[in-house]
Symmetry: C2
Subunit: 325 residues, 2 copies
DNA sequence: CTGTTAGCGCCTTCAG
DNA sequence: CTGAAGGCGCTAACAG
């Protein structure tokens, strides 16, 4: 590793001068400076981030803690975050909280020991991680009091419900994966809020929900709203096994717009997150926090987009009273 | 940030003594040492990783460069790697090479500037990144001459082909996503190697392959082998749209065992990677490289597992000459 | 057993 | 315009 010193001795000046020249502090004559720069890239000089971190107290590294790296949303968030981060000169250290709050706390603690300048955490369901010392921004959902920023899960659910009632559905089944997830609760709350008083709704959770879906269709349910695409594809599988076809017999929707959702048959109507905007907001917030400022984005919520595909359509008689083309 | 010095002055000793006590170098009397330790955790002391990195020249950070964080395999690899890494005291910095070799080189360079001790790279298709200075291990496929370790893609393809010919299929279509991917080439080469001379094989690439799949089935193809689950679900969609059902009309297989593959209908027969073993090998190799040693795992290949589900079955007449239950 | 010194690579005064 | 000195937190080598 070639250091500032090597360059200095090569040229016959002091380390301080090299530092000044390389950082364009203007305190060095242009001729000397360019000679220094030339030698620097001849040697392939790279400033030592350890030294800078030590001196400045800032590592320019952010820690990203996710509940489960296996979560299909992780890639998108990680990608958007990593791109946004290095635009700002930050790198991202990843950690997996492996499904438990203990692991989550451990991960946070390890990251802090690593000297990260800030923490980005998507909390374990139902947990409220906190750090007294290191800035931390929480990406969860609006109903979490500690939430810093998030997609508008409630609004996404609301859009989906509006879409489905506009289609004329009056008997609906909602299936969630996990009742303790605040994100899913918000998604469902949003759905319910937009369903007219007369429409019948039932909510089911987890595998029970998946298995009972077909029964409910037999009993007249004409649309099934789920809180994730993975859940939806699962339900779809049970439905077709039971002899129902989507969307002719039942409409079906997901959430998150995973890669496979456009590829399955029928392509799934779902709700997409704007991860790029999310990433920008998150970084804005964390960098503000690091600098002790306040970000305008704290507490904001990012609109989700309804992605219309072919798994939803108007219900068949008798619940569909309006004619349709 | 409480430093070693603070503890030292609190207790009335020198920084060096505190360092010795905390690192159990034995040069400190047990009484003093425990007094020091006590004060240290009262104060919540954490060694500064920047200082240690500066002093030792080792950051204990590894850089992970992937072609596209959006790749559905990334989560699994990242997770396995991050878990294996922190068992060994390493953290992982992620970078996305965003689909281009230039970005890949940039990412590598940025990571090196960050002072990573080693680089883990899943190379951009067809590229051969190299670093003169920083240890680097390449995770690609056996046919890449720079490959350090990888799943046995060839062997996976071979298993799949054996499975399909054992079922009695004699007219087969192979669909790959991208011909320049060495991984996919190896997967396909493995498949072809195990197909008896008499069986008819055709290979198609990309969207063309997806769109022509149904035609080929009309012309007698009884099994379609793809190089990824995502491709498979896509093909499945086109097939059902054309009125064919899987596996009754055609058998269909994927690769990678994504989350949705078990959930779709029918559940997809596919090939799974043993990412945990992969991660262990990768870390073994990179740490060996960092220490200037040689790892026994270099050049090794990790067996893939055939995951039998319900998208494959024996072909219907006329190509199936043996009776089956 | 404990202290002192010095230096990792860099930058920021403060002098010259 | 350039140099010298000091220090970020830590540890190794060398005293005492």
């Amino acid at each position: 590793m070639v250091s500032i010193k090597k360059i200095a001795s090569d040229i016959g000046v002091t380390a301080a001068t090299v530092s000044n020249a390389l950082n364009g502090k203007g305190r060095v004559s242009e001729v000397l400076a360019s000679r220094i720069r030339a030698r620097a890239d001849e040697l392939g000089y790279r400033p030592s981030s350890a030294a800078i971190a030590l001196k400045s107290g800032r590592s320019h590294v952010l820690g990203l803690v996710m509940p489960d790296l296996t979560n299909p949303l992780f890639p998108h968030i990680a990608q958007a975050l990593s791109i946004a981060a290095d635009r700002l000169g930050f790198a991202i250290l990843i950690a997996d909280s492996r499904g438990s709050v203990e692991e989550q706390d451990l991960a946070i603690s390890r990251l802090i020991s690593r000297g990260v300048d800030g923490l980005l955490v998507v909390p374990q369901r139902g947990s409220s991680p906190a750090s007294p010392t290191t800035p931390m921004t929480i990406i969860n959902t609006a109903s979490d009091p500690n939430n810093s920023v998030s997609a508008d899960h409630w609004g996404g659910g609301a859009q989906m419900a509006r879409h489905i009632t506009a289609l004329g559905h009056k008997k609906i089944l909602i299936i969630g994966a996990d009742a303790v997830s605040e994100v899913q609760q918000d998604r469902i709350a949003g759905m319910k809020s937009q369903l007219p008083y007369e429409t019948k709704v039932e909510i089911l959770w987890g595998t029970a929900g998946i298995e009972q879906a077909a029964d409910h269709v037999s009993k007249g349910v004409s649309a099934i709203l789920t809180t994730s695409d993975l859940l939806a594809i699962n339900v779809h599988s049970h439905l077709t096994r039971a002899g129902f076809t989507v969307p002719d017999d039942v409409s079906l929707t997901g959430f998150d717009d995973m890669a496979f959702s456009a590829a399955m048959h029928p392509p799934l109507t779902t709700i997409a997150q704007d991860v790029d905007t999310l990433a920008d907001y998150v970084l804005d917030i964390i960098t503000a926090q690091i600098e002790g400022k306040a970000s305008p984005h704290v507490g904001q919520t990012i609109a989700m987009d309804l992605v219309l595909r072919h798994s939803t359509t108007a219900p068949r008689s008798p619940s569909n009273k309006e004619p349709h083309p």
